[in-house]
């Protein structure tokens, strides 16, 4: 009996270890954030882009309206690619697009808007990137679909036509 316990437990332990490592192999090593988790939007104070006046987040986002918050920067190349899509989205919909200018030089940002157009209803600035952290953002560009002060969906990286179609479907 004693002789049987030893090999038996060794086999079981190796079995458990094999199972855990095998499961670990199947898991994706690339972190994919949860983009569908509904979260309340954060409360923050910031400055308006053009006037430089202090604004509170509560005065930007109203209840019962759909907003698309877009984090952008003049130094960000993918932002340039998605910008025409934002302009179209603004023309076609009742959607309010809010811009968050991320760690940017204001002159460059103004030139960016002059060159490519301004799809934003309002823009506020995030000079040191801390407001983006409040939003749980990773970098630029990133977009958040907001309704009733809740984040409905998060788009990490530049928007493309497929995602714009999805947004159009969601806000209908």
């Amino acid at each position: 009996m004693k002789n049987k316990i030893l090999p038996f437990s060794v086999i079981i332990i190796f079995g458990i270890i094999f199972f855990i490592f095998y499961k670990g192999l199947e898991d994706s090593k690339i972190y994919t954030p949860d983009v569908n988790a509904k979260k309340e939007i954060p409360v923050f104070n910031t400055k308006e882009f053009f006037s430089g006046e202090n604004v509170k987040s509560s005065s930007i986002f109203e209840l019962d309206k759909v907003y698309l918050l877009n984090i952008w920067s003049s130094w960000c190349v993918p932002c340039r690619q998605e910008h025409p899509l934002l302009i179209n989205l603004n023309l076609e919909n009742k959607l309010n697009i809010i811009g968050m200018n991320y760690k940017d030089n204001l002159k460059n940002a103004e030139n960016f808007l002059k060159e490519l157009g301004n799809p934003y209803k309002e823009i506020f600035i995030d000079l040191d990137g801390t407001i983006a952290i409040e939003w749980g953002a990773y970098g630029v560009p990133e977009s958040f679909l907001i309704y009733n002060n809740e984040i409905i969906k998060k788009y990490i990286g530049p928007l493309n036509q497929e995602l714009v179609d999805e947004i159009n479907l969601l806000i209908k």
Binding site: L6, V10, I20, P33, D128, G129, T130, I133, G139
Partner: protein, 120 residues
């Protein structure tokens, strides 16, 4: 008089530098336990990416607001999820990780006990 002034300055500045050092220690400890999410494999402390730099500023701000280390971890967990912490707590995804070593230790101990000590 000159020396007195000098000593006064040293005495006043010395404890200040100590406070700063303590704050730096806790800041470094926290940022070393935060994963830089856009540069995987690096902690926020090691990274110089835009994301990591902003995170460092937020850690500083939270420390100044008087939040404890655990409260700061909790804050980042609600923003980015458990993955941002290098040292995850015990939950349904990590219990095997925490309990397996204890289990192996106990089973191994039992085997050793049975086969060597009981034999005698």
């Amino acid at each position: 008089m000159k020396y007195l002034k000098f000593f006064l300055i040293v005495i006043i500045l010395f404890p200040l530098s100590n406070i700063n050092a303590e704050e730096n220690d806790i800041r470094n400890k926290i940022t070393k336990n935060l994963r830089c999410l856009i540069c995987q494999g690096q902690s926020v402390y090691d990274s110089d990416s835009e994301f990591a730099n902003s995170l460092k500023i937020v850690v500083d701000k939270k420390l100044h607001e008087g939040l404890s280390e655990d409260q700061i971890y909790e804050y980042f967990k609600t923003k980015y999820g458990e993955w941002i912490l290098y040292d995850p707590g015990l939950n349904k995804n990590t219990y095997i990780l925490w309990l397996l070593p204890i289990l192996i230790f106990l089973i191994g101990g039992a085997i050793i006990y049975k086969s060597f000590i009981v034999k005698k």
